[in-house]
């Protein structure tokens, strides 16, 4: 649903989008224009509502994690934490074990790190919210794309190195159109059965 996806991304929070459209309505002056805007606002409102109904909210991560500082300051690479990228279908979200390798004790004064240390102390997994999800009926394998297809992470996940905030929305939405256009571009099969299962 490209329309919904777009409006969700542009609007930041859903509420903001709603407000923005409303303010544009009050600004207009001429009556005919106003009625037109009225109608379009109602339409947009309906779309917003539809948007809110059909889409999930952005994910809020338990810890404000910065990819940037981990990559630039700590010098990690993606595969250091997302370890199964080259071996499994799933890239894996790092578990506590991975975090503990470095964060066995405090490395900084960041309050966010303190949160992590709390998890470490409790030996409780950090409840990361998974952001990138392919639907159940699609077979997607990181291994195939990374090892056989030699794709860089950025191609699908965007410039994650520069992220100072945790990932809350897919940078490039997981849609069939996106998959297929990339496949088309790289002359890879677009046979349904190669991904659908």
């Amino acid at each position: 649903m490209p329309i919904f996806a777009k409006c969700r991304r542009n609007s930041g929070l859903n509420n903001h989008g709603f407000l923005r459209y409303r303010s544009s309505m009050t600004l207009s002056s001429s009556p005919s224009k106003r009625s037109f805007l009225c109608r379009s606002a109602v339409l947009l409102l309906a779309m917003m509502v539809g948007c809110a109904l059909t889409s999930d909210d952005r994910k809020i991560q338990p810890i404000v994690y910065s990819h940037k500082s981990h990559i630039e300051n700590a010098g990690l690479t993606c595969t250091d934490c997302h370890s199964s990228v080259q071996t499994l279908a799933a890239a894996s979200i790092p578990n506590l074990e991975v975090c503990r390798n470095c964060h066995s004790e405090s490395l900084s004064e960041s309050p966010e790190e303190a949160k992590l240390l709390k998890y470490v102390a409790k030996a409780a997994e950090v409840p990361w919210e998974r952001v990138y999800k392919v639907p159940d009926h699609v077979y997607f394998s990181h291994r195939r794309h990374v090892v056989a297809g030699r794709l860089e992470c950025e191609v699908c996940h965007g410039n994650v190195q520069q992220f100072t905030m945790p990932v809350s929305l897919p940078e490039i939405p997981v849609t069939m159109e996106n998959c297929m256009s990339c496949h088309r571009k790289h002359n890879v099969t677009n046979d349904c059965l190669s991904c659908h299962r």
């Binding site: 639907p135 009926h137 394998s141 291994r143 056989a148 349904c192 059965l193 659908h196 299962r197």
Partner: protein
């Protein structure tokens, strides 16, 4: 490009039904309610057609395992209004559940009654993945059928790709063949003349169902022999 085909040796097949269950387990084929099953809604991708021939005491029972025949000229794909069922370049007739609108035209058009329909929402475990996570769970109102375990091909291809080689014989094997206690099912690339499936498909015993329809099924049967 390989062309996948299957040979079922009716001489070896005992009709035990292992292929039926292996298929159901592998592909998360729903179990339906008892009454529904009795009303002709039992779902089997790999079916077993059991018939009696002749009159007592010269009765002969015949057991024929019946998957989707993955015709080379499939009558079902021709009629699908949305392309939810189609023949892919490797000869697999795929069924894309999320494209399917549930008109059941393909079921009506299939001369082999190979397709089954989700009359209700299938139930497995609430919320969790069904038994086999490699195969998606279908939803109410779509047609489904034997896929020659195409999800296994996805994985086999991936491994072959990653290792930079061709797919080996017997690397891609559907669940029914894998578990057949009688080794009656052979599967492979029929275009490769050295493959077992190609060799058997040229056997003097070979026959296909409804061959006269010209739909070119890719499931070959080897007729039974008796030593009397």
């Amino acid at each position: 490009m390989p062309k996948w085909a299957m040979v079922i040796d009716l001489d070896r097949c005992t009709g035990c039904g292992a292929c039926n269950v292996a298929c159901k387990m592998e592909n998360n084929v729903p179990i339906v309610d008892p009454d529904e099953a009795q009303n002709g809604r039992a779902m089997f991708w790999m079916d077993m057609v059991a018939t009696y021939e002749g009159e007592f005491p010269h009765t002969e029972a015949k057991h024929v395992p019946k998957p989707c025949f993955h015709c080379d000229d499939p009558p079902c794909t021709k009629v699908c209004p949305v392309g939810a069922t189609y023949r892919n370049p490797e000869g697999l007739v795929g069924q894309i559940y999320h494209r399917c609108i549930g008109c059941r035209y393909c079921m009506a058009a299939c001369p082999f009654t190979a397709k089954v329909y989700n009359w209700y929402d299938p139930k497995w475990i609430d919320g969790a993945q069904v038994a086999n996570p490699d195969v998606s769970q279908r939803m109410v109102g779509v047609v489904e059928k034997c896929s020659f375990c195409a999800h296994r091909l996805q994985k086999v291809k991936e491994t072959a790709d990653v290792e930079g080689r061709e797919i080996q014989e017997n690397e891609y094997v559907p669940a029914c063949m894998e578990n057949c206690p009688a080794d009656a099912i052979v599967f492979g690339d029929i275009d490769n003349r050295n493959s077992k499936v190609s060799r058997l498909s040229r056997s003097y015993r070979v026959f296909r169902y409804m061959d006269d329809l010209g739909v070119k099924p890719k499931v070959y049967y080897l007729a039974r022999r008796t030593s009397s």
